[in-house]
Symmetry: C2
Subunit: 231 residues, 2 copies
Amino acid sequence: MSSLTGAPVATCAVAVDVALLTIRAGRLQLLLVQPDAPDLAGRWALPGRRVRDDESLDDTAHRALAELASITAPDAHLEQLRTYGDPARDPRGRVVSVAYLAMTPTTRDPQDRHRARFWDVADLGHGPQLAYDHDRIVPDAIERARSKLEYTSLATAFVEEPFTLAELRQVYEAVWGVRLDPANFRRKVVSTEDFVVETTGFAPPGPEGGRPARRYRRGGAHRLHPAMLRP
Amino acid sequence: MSSLTGAPVATCAVAVDVALLTIRAGRLQLLLVQPDAPDLAGRWALPGRRVRDDESLDDTAHRALAELASITAPDAHLEQLRTYGDPARDPRGRVVSVAYLAMTPTTRDPQDRHRARFWDVADLGHGPQLAYDHDRIVPDAIERARSKLEYTSLATAFVEEPFTLAELRQVYEAVWGVRLDPANFRRKVVSTEDFVVETTGFAPPGPEGGRPARRYRRGGAHRLHPAMLRP
DNA sequence: TCAATAGTGTCTTTTAGACATTATATG
DNA sequence: CATATAATGTCTAAAAGACACTATTGA
């Protein structure tokens, strides 16, 4: 192919790295894997793959999750986060990385927990050492998730359908790290147009009793009107 | 450099395309240029350049504006929009494009108006024919700008300091395409913490009179609390 | 029965929006 | 004076938040 400018340009390697968030045990967790590279022994990284010929960026993101963590989640929410292209971000050469943000309902750790596992995001500061510039990507991903919960219906990507409003509330509590009033939360969710739709089903109470909770499905709304602002 | 996977991977060309928005005559406008390629004669495109060795993506964005439109705006707001990597998006080969969104205060058309000029975004549907997949990028850029005016202080990127609250209101009106009540707008802006800070100066009235308007500067806030929601 | 969770009602505070009123300029 | 724009005041409606109360379950 021809150059656009005639000036010397880099032919970069292009990679996709995926920050997959989920909620387990009421806490926000992030999937990390251990890279093969021997000089990165003991470090953890976001699952990432180089982009192949004739492969879309979204396809590369799905392949990274499948190949590195055996996670096939075709229905998971997947969106671009941003692209990291600092010339020195990868010591092996110029690699431009398109970072993705993904969310799934509660998911078990992959088979080999030494190669791929979920980490509490609260522990990331004093837990795994991150490789490359992934310590810059991860905070961006978490902040994006926190922010999008406010003005989109993204929280529903963390729960399986049908879900109770208590489950949905626990998503907000885990991602934002706050406690929300159940009564006010309920009123806000059901009064936000097309956020959730009632089903006829009920979830059985827990082992300690309690009134059965009505189950809901995702509504058609993508943006929330009005927004669900952080306290 | 070594491959991360051993599998066949694309070595993509990486480009940066910039959607530069400004406000002129009370209307939101977008900068477009005419590409050199003879097969694109008569078409318009976002200013874009291939990424050079040892050049950051931000630097490429600035260079695209400087080389293609003679616009040097080191203080302009510049942020990533998203990355477009569809394998077929450029007929000349695989080009992954990192799209940027930029905003400047009112700016004149570049010298050669046949090679680079601003267009009313309201006219883009029935005006210039866009090249490549830029008809997908442009709506994303406009929607991003409209959305970020709601929950960030980005509107101040469209005005020179110091500015009056009427000028700031006209930014919202131009980007959103609505009329806002001046009294309520003022109250909301000054009550939003660190959005703007008062100066001691006043702008003289227009030719038909009117009370002089106090001038303000940008405050320290980036995110607005509470948000400035679209009507 | 009590404890636990789901769901409703009510009150207060805050915010948004419509719109009248006052202030300061030009002609 | 009239007119235009800036800035303030006032009223109403909508939304957010605190918290009491009712409903339905398990033990």
